[in-house]
């Protein structure tokens, strides 16, 4: 019974955050871009998101005649599902977690790899050249960055006593947040995670301005909406994971409840990811992959090696 409440609670929570992110991103971008942003619908534009949702739900659900229909419909659901699955593992507060699994971290990595199918299949099923190029880029990008996304977390696992359980990783940070001993791991995970969620500046599969809208060029209405919400769920997830793995999860001074600490830290990272989008230009596809394989991968391996060495030396 209790687990049922938690599942519904988590689901409502993350979907609400994802929707709120639309508003937060637009307001923050407008703040950083010296403009006003959405401020017409409701007080401070709060009703912008409901208005957007009404629009997107009522829009004609159109499938291009040249598309592969079944796959075209399937693709956007994959990204939503794979991300929502991962949320089952996130420890929002002590006891507020759907599953405390001892393979949680691996499950998260596996799910984030599944998300790439969404891009590949949508690009393929659209039967559109821009979508195709976007999907090709997306695949190469995801495969490259997945490699060291997983590896960059191995340091965290090692210093947390070899556990893959997210709750235990948080508990292990009571003395010191993992970001201190694992700063390199944090930086690499951050970059890889933004790349995995294909957010600007690493939005190469989408590349508005080059590929029109990349892999989702042919999508409209609610199916586009699912990609859209999937992206915001994605930033929420990686922010939550960064907080859990490197910034002590729900831990914090007792004057605020643990859940509040978790949310505060998560929103700080959401804002940071939005700031990245506002600030940085998009690297070229081959440059981006080059940096991944030539710089970040060796750095990750070095990080694992040094962490292991220090742990061994301490016995």
């Amino acid at each position: 019974m209790a687990i049922g409440f938690i599942i519904v609670g988590v689901l409502l929570l993350v979907v609400t955050i994802a929707a709120a992110n639309i508003y937060i991103e637009r307001r923050l971008l407008s703040l950083w871009q010296d403009r006003r942003g959405p401020n017409r619908a409701g007080p401070f534009g709060f009703l912008q998101v409901p208005a957007d949702m009404i629009k997107i739900f009522l829009k004609e659900d159109w499938i291009p005649p040249f598309a592969d229909k079944a796959v075209f419909v399937l693709a956007p659901t994959i990204v939503m599902l794979s991300i929502l699955f991962s949320f089952a593992l996130v420890p929002f507060a002590p006891g507020f977690q759907v599953v405390d699994s001892n393979i949680a971290l691996l499950f998260f990595l596996a799910n984030s790899s599944l998300a790439v199918y969404s891009i590949v299949l949508s690009g393929w099923a659209s039967n559109n050249k821009y979508a195709m190029i976007g999907a090709m880029r997306g695949t190469a990008q995801m495969i490259s960055y997945e490699v060291f996304m997983g590896l960059s977390l191995m340091g965290v696992v090692m210093i947390s006593g070899g556990t893959f359980s997210l709750r235990e990783i948080v508990e292990a940070q009571r003395g010191m947040w993992n970001v201190v001993p694992q700063f390199v791991g944090f930086c690499i995970f951050m970059i890889a995670a933004v790349a995995e969620s294909h957010r600007a500046p690493f939005d190469l599969p989408e590349s508005e301005g080059e590929l029109v809208a990349g892999f989702h060029t042919e999508y409209s209405g609610i199916k586009f909406g699912m990609f859209f919400v999937g992206e915001y769920l994605g930033i929420t997830l990686i922010s939550a994971m960064i907080v859990t793995l490197f910034f002590g999860g729900w831990l914090g001074p007792a004057f605020l409840p643990p859940f509040f600490w978790f949310m505060l830290k998560t929103f700080a990272f959401i804002a940071f990811i939005i700031l990245l989008r506002a600030a940085l230009p998009r690297p070229r596809y081959d440059q981006f992959l080059g940096v991944g394989w030539k710089i970040l991968l060796p750095l990750t391996l070095l990080n694992v090696l040094i962490t292991a060495g220090i742990l061994l030396a301490r016995g």
Partner: protein, 577 residues
């Protein structure tokens, strides 16, 4: 003197000199000599004429005032430029018959390709030996050649437009790209090429421009530009609007550069009628012109960053663009299409308190530019995306007819404001920024430095602004000064006629170039002693720039192409006119 050199080489009988209002050496030559002669001026003489600046046609069949010119139904006009001599040369060839032809010069100049296609499209003049003589601005199935005199200019002169279902299908069918038509292969030895339509509607093309990419993976093998989607027949309109009423049309040629278009057109008109523009009007022209240079460069700067995936700078630069627009609207009442210059001066005097507005901006702006230098130009990703991308050197630029910042980015400091000062530019102190490598980054750098120089010119304008009339006292000034209309009948008559019919500009020909924001803007006007131009040729910098894109973008990726297009700085209305 170049005409003498030509006479010595080709025989005095074969070179017929023509006096023109702009004083540019002009010679009529025989069609049979044209290839040898142009080869001679490009390759055979000292300080050669290396650049084909323009190539156009004049329909001579209805022209009344032809003085000493040889009889002709059409004349093809070649305009070549020598940087060594700092001089231009106009070569004309008289053609006879309904649809005449003459040899193509595409073998001599790479950029002649599009100019000859345009001449064919607009006049039906055929160029023998052209590799791909097909329509360029109009659609392939278009009937008639719009700039010929018998072609109607008004919609009311032709029947109502209709398009049957079959015609529409055929027109759409015609747009399907067939690589074979352009001599492109569908396959290489090991791969099948992808043909990607970039445009006509695409966020990276800044308007209606269609580039058909031949891709091997993401690598560009070749590009076929398809232009004309923005063609509005600006040159044809000049033949039915009065000289005065055509001014607002010029605003809309390079619509980011507002009055700089007025400047080129009106200076050309003023060459024809010999009006001296008073000093105050000249400096007002310079000042508003330089403001529009900043406005145009700011628009370019923001969209350039956006093309590279940086989404914020466009808002910063547009905010500052608004600051300049505030000054422009205080002076002119308009914004992008200020339509402020008049034949013989400007429309009105400067408003009270203009100095303070200008000085406030002069004080504010340098900090902004410095800040964006940090945000945009110092960014390593931006550098990685633009340095060493889309490189061309000075010789290539001249071969393709590139002028303006893109030419200066190759290290060749040629600026019409310095080399051929007009409108009082000789009184100003400013530098001509040059680049070194001729890549996208240098092109951006040059434009940013130009904004600083423009700002310094604007500041000097405030100091140098003389008192005096803002309009010439000549009777051809339009609209003429009103003060004396109630006092003497002569002024009243002139005022009445110039406002109702429009001024009659004396017969003649003139071409004036100004340093526009994107390169050299030129208006070649032929007057037949009438109230409208007999022929108005608008030579724009975007045309050669886009023509060159396939040449510089080969071998790069799609992402690089967007950087190249972003750094070219073109405007579709400027390209198609």
């Amino acid at each position: 003197m170049i005409i003498d050199e030509l006479k010595a080489r080709f025989g005095a009988d074969n070179i017929r000199e023509q006096k023109t209002s702009d004083g540019m050496p002009t010679a009529w030559v025989n069609a049979s000599d044209i290839l040898r002669l142009l080869d001679f001026v490009k390759n055979g003489i000292s300080k050669p004429y290396k650049m084909l600046y323009d190539l156009t046609v004049v329909d001579e069949r209805h022209r009344q005032y032809r003085d000493s010119m040889p009889a002709a139904d059409f004349s093809v006009v070649y305009h070549v430029t020598s940087y060594g001599r700092n001089e231009d040369l106009r070569i004309k060839v008289a053609l006879h018959g309904e649809y005449p032809s003459l040899p193509s010069i595409t073998g001599l100049w790479a950029n002649a390709n599009w100019y000859e296609r345009e001449a064919y499209d607009m006049f039906g003049v055929k160029f023998e030996g052209h590799p791909n003589l097909r329509r360029i601005l109009m659609s392939q199935s278009w009937k008639g050649h719009p700039l010929r005199k018998e072609y109607p200019a008004r919609a009311t002169e032709i029947g109502p437009f209709s398009m049957s279902e079959d015609e529409r299908t055929a027109a759409e069918e015609e747009l399907v790209f067939k690589p074979e038509d352009w001599g492109l292969k569908r396959k290489s030895e090991d791969a099948e090429f992808m043909f990607l339509n970039l445009g006509p509607d695409h966020p990276g093309t800044h308007g209606l421009l269609r580039l058909i990419l031949q891709l091997d993976g993401e690598e560009i093998v070749d590009i076929v530009p398809d232009i004309g989607y923005h063609h509005r027949g600006a040159e044809k309109m000049a033949e039915r609007q009065t000289w005065h009423k055509y001014i607002p049309y010029t605003d809309r040629i390079d619509y980011t550069a507002g009055v700089l278009n007025n400047m080129a057109y009106l200076m050309s008109v003023e060459k024809l009628d010999g009006i001296e523009v008073p000093a105050r009007a000249q400096i007002i022209r310079v000042m508003t012109g330089e403001m529009f240079r900043i406005i145009s460069h700011l628009l370019w700067y923001g969209t350039f960053a956006q093309d590279l995936g940086q989404i914020s700078p466009v808002f910063y630069t547009f905010n500052d663009r608004e600051r300049v627009f505030d000054i422009i609207s205080a002076i002119t009442g308009g914004r992008m299409h200020a339509n402020w210059f008049r034949i013989g001066g400007v429309a009105q005097d400067l408003p009270k308190g203009w100095q303070q507005m200008v000085l406030d901006f002069v004080k504010y702006f340098p900090k902004s530019i410095d800040e964006w230098d940090k945000v945009i130009m110092s960014n390593r990703i931006i550098k990685g995306r633009t340095q060493g991308i889309g490189v061309f050197n000075t010789d290539e630029a001249i071969e393709w007819g590139i002028t303006g910042p893109s030419l200066r980015a190759t290290g060749f400091g040629w600026d019409l404001r310095k080399q051929r000062p007009y409108s009082g530019y000789e009184n100003f102190k400013f530098d001509v920024p040059v680049g070194k490598n001729g890549d996208c980054y240098d092109r951006a750098r040059v434009r940013i430095e130009e904004m600083r120089q423009s700002l310094s010119i604007i500041e000097q304008c405030v100091k140098l602004m003389p008192d005096g009339p803002y309009k010439s006292n000549s009777p051809l000034t339009t609209p003429p000064t009103k003060e004396n209309t109630t006092k003497d009948i002569e002024t009243l008559i002139h005022h009445f006629l110039n406002v109702s019919w429009g001024p009659v500009i004396p017969a003649g020909e003139s071409m004036v170039q100004v340093e526009g924001t994107k390169g050299s803007n030129g208006y070649y006007l032929v007057s037949d002693n009438n109230t409208a131009a007999y022929r108005c040729r608008v030579r724009t910098p975007s045309f050669p720039s886009i023509q060159m894109v396939p040449y510089i973008a080969k071998g790069y990726t799609i992402a690089d192409l967007l950087a190249i297009l972003g750094a070219v700085d073109f405007v579709l209305a400027d390209l198609d006119r």
